[in-house]
C-alpha cells in the first residue's frame, strides 16, 4: 500500500535534468519511476549528413563526456572502413579519453556526490564539520583543490586536442596532433601534478597502497584523504545497505587498442565473466515516449511520440542485454576486469561499492596514463589514411566515465541513413520494459528510507548520484 507519492526534481548536481516519481510506503520507497525530461533528437539530425560529420555532431551530445562520444564515432567510422587507428595514434586517443574519464570521476566525487554529506540533516554527526569544511557545494576546500587539479590535468587535452570540451582530434585513422618530445615532457609534468593531488588530497597515500586493498574489510579501515572521510561516512550511514544494483555488470572493454582493451570487456553475473553478446541488445520502448518496437540498434529508430501517451513516462528507451538489465560504469569495469577489491564488493555493497569502483578506477587510470605517455614514440605515424566507404555500416563501442557507450551507424551514397546511440545512463536510468521490469536505478531505489518530513529524500539523492547520471547523454 502506498502511503504517499513524491515527485523529486529538478535534480541538481547531476549532468542534465532528471525527475523521479516515488511511491512511499512504511517509510521506504516501494516503487520508483525515472523520467529523463530532456530530448534533443541527435539520432534524427544525423540522418542525411556525411559520415565524417558525426565526429563533430555527436560530441556535442554532452559537455562532459564529449571525447567518449567522439571516440565512439571515430571507432564506428573506422569499423565501417575495416581499418583502425595508427598504433601511436591510438595511444594518444586513449590518453585523451583517459584524461576525460578521470576528470569526470573526480568531478563527480567532489562536486556532485560528497556535498550531500554537508547537509544540515547530518548536523551532529562526528564527521559533519569536516564534510562541511571540505565539501560544501561551491565552497568546500576539496572542491576548490579538485577544480584546480582538474584544470591542470585537462591541459593534456588542450595540448593534444586543441580544446576541451568538444575536442576534434580523434579521427578514424588516428589523431590530428602528433606530439613532440617537448609536449611529452610537458604532459609528464601535468600527470605528475595530478598524481600529487591524488596522493595528497583524494587518497593522501600512494596510489599503489590504495590499489593493494583486496577486500571490503580492508577498505573499511582506510582513513586517509577525502577517500578516508567518505569511507568513514559510508560506514556510519550504512551506505552499503542502500542502492543495491541488479548484480549484473557489463563493460565493452575500456580503451580498445589493437592489443586489446586496457580494462577487459565482459558481462559479470554471479561471479562468472562471459563475453558481451552485443547482438542480444534490444532497446525496448514500451514505457518510453517513443513509437516502434524493441529492436537491435542496427535496426533501431527514434520516433518521439509527440502526444507523450501513457504508459510512457520518459524520453529514455530501455536497453536490455539478453532481455535483462545490466549496470554499467566504473564499478562494472573494475569488476569485469577482476580488481580484487571491486570483485569483493560486487554484491551487497550498494552505494559504497559504486563509489569505491570509481576510486579504484581513478587510481588505476592515473597509472595507465603514466605508462601510455612513457610509451609514445614521437617519431612514428599518428594517423593512417582511412577512407570511409560511401555505403556500409559500423559500430563504435567505448567505455565512457559512466559506462558503456555504443554508436551503431549505416551509410548509403555517402550519407548517414541510420545512427543509433546507447549511452551509459540509458542503461542505468532506463524506464520499465515490456515485461514490467524496472531499470537499474529504479530497482536500486526500492527500499530507500524516507523520513516523514522529507520531500527530496537524502537517501534517494545518495543512490541516484552514486550512479553518476549523465542525463544529457541518456536521451540525446
Amino acid at each position: 500500500m502506498t502511503d504517499r507519492q513524491l515527485l523529486v526534481g529538478p535534480f541538481n548536481r547531476v549532468e542534465g535534468d532528471l525527475e523521479l516519481k516515488l511511491d512511499i510506503s512504511n517509510g521506504k520507497v516501494s516503487a520508483a519511476y525515472a523520467n529523463s525530461p530532456l530530448f534533443r533528437g541527435f539520432e534524427r539530425m544525423l540522418l542525411g549528413m556525411k559520415p565524417s560529420d558525426a565526429l563533430t555532431i555527436t560530441p556535442r551530445i554532452c559537455g562532459i563526456c564529449s571525447i567518449s562520444q567522439s571516440a565512439a564515432a571515430a571507432f564506428g567510422l573506422a569499423d565501417a572502413a575495416g581499418a583502425g587507428l595508427a598504433r601511436e595514434g591510438e595511444k594518444v586517443a586513449t590518453l585523451l579519453h583517459a584524461v576525460e574519464n578521470v576528470a569526470d570521476h573526480i568531478t563527480h566525487f567532489n562536486l556532485f556526490f560528497m556535498p550531500d554529506f554537508a547537509r544540515a540533516k547530518y548536523e551532529g554527526r562526528s564527521w559533519h564539520a569536516e564534510a562541511v569544511a571540505r565539501f560544501t557545494a561551491e565552497k568546500g576546500s576539496s572542491l576548490h583543490q579538485t577544480v584546480a587539479a582538474r584544470a591542470e590535468l585537462l591541459h593534456i587535452v588542450g595540448l593534444l586536442g586543441g580544446k576541451w570540451p568538444h575536442t576534434l582530434a580523434i579521427q578514424p585513422g588516428g589523431v590530428t596532433r602528433a606530439p613532440t618530445a617537448r609536449d611529452i615532457i610537458r604532459m609528464g609534468a601535468s600527470l605528475k601534478a595530478f598524481r600529487k593531488y591524488l596522493e595528497e588530497r583524494l587518497f593522501a597515500a600512494p596510489l599503489e597502497t590504495f590499489l593493494s586493498l583486496s577486500n571490503s574489510g580492508e577498505l573499511e579501515s582506510w582513513t586517509s584523504g577525502d577517500a578516508g572521510l567518505f569511507v568513514r561516512i559510508a560506514n556510519e550511514l550504512g551506505l552499503s545497505e542502500m542502492g543495491e544494483g541488479p548484480g549484473r555488470y557489463m563493460s565493452y572493454g575500456a580503451y580498445p587498442m589493437s592489443t586489446g582493451p586496457l580494462f577487459a570487456a565482459g558481462r559479470w553475473a554471479d561471479g562468472v565473466v562471459s563475453p558481451v553478446e552485443t547482438e542480444a541488445i534490444r532497446e525496448d520502448v514500451s514505457y518510453a515516449w517513443m513509437l516502434g518496437d524493441a529492436l537491435h540498434p542496427t535496426e533501431g529508430q527514434t520516433l518521439p511520440d509527440a502526444e507523450m501517451r501513457e504508459p510512457g513516462y520518459s524520453w529514455c528507451k530501455a536497453p536490455r542485454l539478453g532481455g535483462q538489465t545490466v549496470e554499467v560504469g566504473a564499478m562494472a569495469r573494475q569488476i569485469v576486469d577482476g580488481h580484487p577489491l571491486a570483485v569483493s564488493m560486487a554484491t551487497g555493497k550498494g552505494v559504497l561499492g559504486r563509489i569505491t569502483g570509481r576510486l579504484i578506477e581513478i587510481a588505476r587510470t592515473q597509472i595507465v596514463m603514466e605508462e601510455l605517455l612513457a610509451s609514445i614514440d614521437v617519431g612514428q605515424r599518428f594517423m593512417d589514411r582511412v577512407v570511409v566507404p560511401e555505403n556500409g555500416e559500423g559500430v563504435g563501442l567505448v567505455e565512457a566515465a559512466r559506462g558503456s557507450l555504443g554508436h551503431w551507424m549505416k551509410f548509403e551514397d555517402g550519407e548517414i541513413v541510420s545512427y543509433q546511440i546507447i549511452a551509459p545512463t540509458t542503461w542505468n536510468f532506463s524506464p520499465r520494459d515490456a515485461s514490467g521490469v524496472a531499470g537499474p536505478v529504479e530497482a536500486a531505489l526500492v527500499g530507500a528510507p524516507v523520513d516523514p518530513d522529507e520531500e527530496t529524500p537524502v537517501s534517494v539523492q545518495h543512490i541516484v548520484r552514486s550512479f553518476d547520471p549523465c542525463m544529457v547523454c541518456t536521451v540525446h
Partner: protein, 366 residues
Amino acid sequence: MDLAEMETFYDVMRRQGITRRSFMKYCSLTAAALGLSPSFVPKIAHAMENKPRTPVIWVHGLECTCCSESFIRSAHPLAKDVVLSMISLDYDDTLMAAAGHQAEAALQDTIEKYKGNYILAVEGNPPLNEDGMFCIIGGKPFVDQLRHAAEHAKAVISWGACASYGCVQAAKPNPTRATPVHKVITDKPIIKVPGCPPIAEVMTGVITYMLTFDRLPELDRQGRPAMFYSQRIHDKCYRRPHFDAGQFVEQWDDDNARKGYCLYKMGCKGPTTYNACATTRWNGGVSFPIQSGHGCIGCSEDGFWDQGSFYDRVTDLTQFGVEANADEVGLAAAGVVGGAVAAHAAVSALKNAQRKSQKSKTREEA
C-alpha cells in the same frame, strides 16, 4: 531590496577569505583580460569596493552543459574563484547544493529579492515544439522558467552557441524546434557569448566587465562583445604564413600536417570565424583546435552546424549566412578574404571543392 543594504563585491570577497593582495591581483588580471590599460586597475578596485554585488541567476535549458564545464576551468584559478564567489551563482542547477522543491524555492527567492537587479545567464535554449515539453524543469517547460526569470532581469547573457544561435540541436530538421534566447526574450538587453563552448577566459571576462562596470560591454551587430569577437581566427592564426605561401595540408596523414601547414584545404573555417581562439587559446592558453592539427569548425558563428560537411572547404562565402549580419567592417574584410580564398581555389584548380560547394548548396536549398 534596497541596493544600499546589499553587500559590495569586496565585502563578499573578504567574506570568502580572499586577501587584499589577492584582490588587487584580481583587479590587475581583470584589466589585462579586458584589454584595459593599468590605469584602470584602481578604477576597477574602487568599483568593486563600492558597488553592490550583482546577483546572477544561471539557468540551463536544452544543452550539454559544456559552457559550465568550460567556465569552471578558467585559466586563472584566482579569477574563477573570485568570479564564482562574486556572482555566488545565486541559482545554478548544476553546481548548487539544493535540490527539488528547495531549488525551485531558491530560484523564486532570488528573483523576488533582487527584482530588476540581477543578471540572468542562460546556458542552452528552449525547445518550442509540443508546447516546450522536450525540456521540462520542475514539471514545467523550460521556456516558462526562462520567461519568468527574464521578466525581472536587468540583462541576459546567452552563453554559448545554443543560447545565442541554436547550435547542433537546432540542426535540420530541428526535431524539437530548439530556439535561441533572443527569439523568445525580446524586451531585455541580451549579450551573446557564442562558441561551443565559449572560451573560459572570455566567459569570465564578459561577466567581470558587466559586474565591475555595471554596463554591457560594447557589442557588435550580432550582439557579441566586440572585445572578444572582433578578430577573425584567420587573421590571428599562427599558421597564416603557410596560407599566404600556398602551403597546405592535403591529407590528414601527410608530411605537411606534421610541418604545421595551413588547414584550409581540410575544411578549416578560420577565414569566416570571429572569435578569440587564436589569441586567448584554450585550456589555460596551451593550444586551440588549429594548433592541434584540426581545422576550425566555426562554432562561434550562427548556423555553423548546417553548412554542409565540416570538412568541406570554404570556397563560397554566400554559404555563410552569418556574414550578411556581421559588422560592416567584418563584412568588408570577409568580402576581401572571400575573394582571395576563391582566387586561391581557382589557382589550385580545386574542382573537387567547387563540386562539394555546389552539393552543399543544393542541400541547403532542399
